[in-house]
């Protein structure tokens, strides 16, 4: 791969034919990347209409209320003794219909957000920065498998990740952990301090409701320090205690509050009071200041630096992270206090990220963006982005696990996945109209189109077929 091709594909999301080309001059590729760190727009036009988490939470609350109405109508005691069965049935249908409508409203939030995300990635002039958004969103993965998380997944990325992508890791960490989507996804909304005001109520104590360690554990294992870095079960439990109080009022089991506030909140009556000892350090802060102090320390820990450096190296320099680059990023992270643009500049300057052989097998998400950008697509055709991602085998914001989508070839380089790409390529190419695949090839991969690909494009029986072949060429499959 040429430097320009590496910048466009490994760092970026694939070239667009209507984008200005990177100059074929020494240093131009790196300059193009560095400039994006400044030009990055946290809220580009395609995202400006996206629903915020407050509105979405109200819709979730409506949906929950419809659910309660359905249950109430079903179990309503027959007070008259002579009630006409049909009238009860009508009442049921109405409640069910309302609930169905509320459910489709939630589904729509997910679809709208996916399409907004795809559109932003397709038209972006700062594709390297967009890649970083996707990277961090996956690092702090929420999964839309949960009905309450699905409509919020987009707002999580737009509100907690995007504003901090060119900021400090500690700020992103705080924003991510306190976002309603994360609190719902990792069960923080059902965690109750056993010794809290709420936890000591006889009814609560009798049900043995209490601490939920899920969020605390995943923060330590996935979001900051990394697995097996020396924290103990006691650290997890203590951290979980300090996190109690954080919830999404009025959503889910509505513990502590029935009122929807349109966001997350710290409810003191759920919080376990007292000094907590985590990783050998005592935290005596009160209320939400305590977990905030823990998060701050975790964000600046050397283990966190190593964990993030390893993941970033894997993302830009190959499935097996090069130790020298990991060490370089680790130092950059610690010296800068977790300044993310400093990390990106270090990546741009790392020779390991510029090796000429492709270092990564594109995930379905990456492949779809590269293909759509190559075709000059600006917006997915009416919701097809959701279907396309499903077909390709990587549903947006649905990794199904809090560790996010894997970032190694073994996950994505499968026979069936390849067949799906070929099928998708044929359909996309058929819709694309007349395009000279040969000219496009050198735009997508400047000075980096292989002989086999040129040969295949030459011999294609139609322009559409040539385009389909270009979309599945080896150059497109890797970066």
């Amino acid at each position: 791969m040429s430097e320009r091709s590496i910048a466009l594909n490994r760092f970026g999301l694939g070239a667009r034919p209507d984008e200005p080309e990177i100059a074929n001059a020494p240093g131009a590729a790196r300059d193009w990347l560095s400039a994006q760190l400044i030009a990055y727009d946290p809220q580009p036009p395609p995202l400006r209409q996206a629903a915020g988490s407050a509105a979405i939470l109200n819709d979730i609350a409506d949906y929950q209320a419809q659910g309660r109405a359905v249950r109430t109508s079903k179990f309503r005691p027959d007070v008259s003794g002579q009630a006409e069965p049909s009238s009860v049935a009508v009442g049921d249908d109405a409640a069910v219909a309302l609930r169905r409508r509320a459910r489709s409203a939630l589904r729509l939030h997910y679809v709208d957000a996916v399409n907004a995300r795809v559109a932003a990635a397709l038209v972006s002039r700062t594709p390297f920065a967009e890649r970083m958004v996707h990277f961090w969103s996956n690092h702090f993965a929420v999964s839309a498998d949960k009905i309450s998380v699905s409509p919020l997944a987009g707002s999580f990325e737009f509100e907690a990740i995007r504003p901090h992508v060119m900021g400090k890791f500690s700020d992103m960490l705080k924003a991510a952990e306190c976002h309603p989507a994360m609190l719902l996804y990792l069960d923080q909304v059902v965690s109750i301090g056993p010794g809290s005001v709420f936890g000591r109520r006889p009814r609560v104590a009798a049900r043995r409701q209490g601490l939920n360690e899920n969020l605390a554990r995943e923060i330590l294992e996935l979001h900051t320090l990394g697995a097996r870095t020396g924290y103990s079960q006691a650290d997890v439990t203590e951290f979980a205690r300090s996190l109690t109080g954080w919830t999404v009022p009025g959503i889910g089991r509505r513990i502590g509050s029935r009122e929807v506030t349109g966001g997350s909140a710290f409810l003191p009556e759920l919080h376990e009071l007292g000094t907590r000892t985590i990783l050998g350090k005592a935290y005596s802060q009160e209320a939400e200041a305590q977990a905030e102090a823990v998060l701050h320390d975790l964000a600046h820990s050397p283990a966190t630096a190593r964990h993030l450096a390893t993941k970033l190296t894997r993302h830009f320099a190959g499935d097996t992270p090069a130790p020298a680059m990991v060490a370089r990023l680790e130092n950059a992270f610690l010296r800068s206090g977790g300044d993310l643009p400093t990390l990106y500049r270090t990546i741009i300057l790392s020779p390991e990220a510029w090796v000429t052989e492709p270092v990564k097998f594109r995930s379905p998400w990456e492949w779809s963006l590269a293909a759509l950008r190559a075709l000059g697509s600006r917006l997915p055709d009416g919701g097809s982005a959701v279907g396309l991602q499903e077909q390709l085998g990587q549903r947006v914001w649905r990794p199904g696990q809090p560790s996010g989508f894997n970032d190694i070839a073994a996950t994505w380089a499968g026979p069936d996945a390849l067949m799906r790409r070929v099928e998708a390529a044929e359909r996309l190419a058929q819709r694309a109209g007349a395009t000279d695949a040969r000219a496009l090839a050198s735009t997508l991969f400047p000075d980096a189109v292989g002989a086999a690909t040129l040969d295949a494009l030459d011999r294609a029986e139609s322009p559409g077929q040539a385009l389909a072949l270009l979309l599945v060429a080896p150059e497109m499959m890797r970066r």
């Binding site: 026979p415 086999a452 499959m477």
Partner: protein, 383 residues
């Protein structure tokens, strides 16, 4: 890589329409001898095809596969031919079919991609030789006398090289999708990772739905087409046909039976189409390597080593199975799993082609397999 001339020839042929016979502007061929190579891509199971039922270990190692022997054609005291190959059995009785068992190319590492590269280029190892041995064979035949054609939309490696080679797809125009799949196969041929994934994807796709009847018709049509291309006085003299679906890791009994039936239909159509020219025709069927001797946990076999090759034709000294049989008991296997190769495929090809075209075996061996040493071309394969 294709040379420019062969691309131009194929470029013009690509414009031909389905059903119409290609009018190929070939000079009248100076030789009437024809040679057809049918490649079995995916490692066909030689032990399942030419079954060594006389081997004391056969019933034990082949388990349920051994049941197929009862329906097959008994070839001699040792071997029985799979029942799917009924035309081949008939040719065997007419002494026009010859089977060579426990045969292998020099390749030993069990990758389809590399194994097919060695089989087609004639190298000692993958990518060592750039062009194909069938292309180099043209150098040995009378000038303007021999043209080669690939009976497929893409150019197989065996035919690639400095001599012009045409290609022509089977008369039934594949739908756009199938054509794309075929071109993707071609596109990935130089990419080991993608080629391996893609081969697997295609073999899985082939399993979906019952396409056997359709495939049988397709195979016969391909055989008929090859005969049409080879028959005219100014027609092609060398042709290659690609067959797939041999990579039977699971459900082998049904899949192998289907594959052999298709191969048999193709052979029958070829013989019928060639008419009197069958007397001047030599057909070679070979695969990149064999499969494991024992049945795996999914009713299939895995990549192996020794395989079976077949020769058909009017002048083949047939009615024989040539095998220095190594045995298939556990202790006799190559690396404890595969049929031990006791014959060299290159020697078989060199011996058969030199006799068929009346050429000096050493000259043929040097041209077709320049990287191999210790040649001992098999004599007496073709009269």
């Amino acid at each position: 890589m294709l040379d420019r001339r062969s691309f131009l020839v194929r470029g013009t042929l690509a414009t031909l329409t389905a059903g119409a016979m290609p009018r190929m502007a070939f000079a009248r061929a100076a030789t009437q001898k024809r040679f057809v190579f049918i490649i079995q891509r995916g490692a066909a199971d030689g032990i399942g095809t030419v079954m060594p039922v006389g081997d004391p270990a056969h019933a034990a190692v082949r388990q349920s596969f051994a049941e197929d022997a009862s329906a097959g054609a008994k070839l001699d005291g040792m071997f029985t031919l799979h029942q799917g190959l009924s035309k081949a059995a008939q040719l065997y009785r007419q002494r026009q079919a010859l089977f060579i068992h426990a045969v292998a190319s020099p390749y030993r590492d069990r990758s389809h991609f590399d194994g097919q590269n060695v089989l087609e280029t004639g190298g000692a190892s993958a990518y060592q030789v750039r062009d194909g041995w069938m292309n180099r064979l043209l150098d040995l035949l009378p000038r303007d006398g021999a043209r080669a054609i690939a009976v497929s939309a893409t150019m197989p490696a065996a035919l690639r090289g400095g001599n012009e080679v045409a290609s022509y797809a089977p008369s039934v125009l594949p739908d756009a999708s199938d054509d794309l799949l075929q071109r993707v196969t071609m596109l990935y041929q130089g990419d080991a990772q993608l080629y391996a994934l893609w081969s697997e994807a295609l073999s899985v796709r082939g399993l979906v739905g019952d396409q056997s009847e359709h495939a049988g018709r397709e195979s016969a049509a391909t055989g008929r087409l090859a005969a049409q291309l080879l028959l005219p006085a100014d027609g092609a003299r060398i042709a290659m046909i690609e067959t797939g679906g041999w990579d039977t890791h699971s459900g082998q009994r049904a899949r192998l039976a289907g594959g052999l039936k298709n191969l048999d239909s193709m052979l029958a159509a070829l013989q019928l189409g060639l008419g009197a020219a069958w007397q001047e025709t030599l057909v070679l069927v070979a695969t990149e390597f064999g499969r494991t001797v024992t049945v795996n946990g999914t009713g299939g076999t895995d990549h192996g080593t020794g395989a079976a090759a077949m020769l058909f034709g009017g002048r083949v000294r047939g009615g024989r199975v040539i095998a220095d049989w190594p045995g298939i008991a556990a202790a006799q296997l190559y690396e404890g799993r595969d049929l031990r190769p006791t014959a060299r495929l290159d020697d078989v090809i060199t011996g058969a082609l030199s006799a068929h075209f009346g050429l000096d075996p050493d000259r043929v061996g040097t041209a077709l397999f320049p990287a191999l040493s210790g040649r001992a071309p098999t004599s007496g394969l073709v009269a």
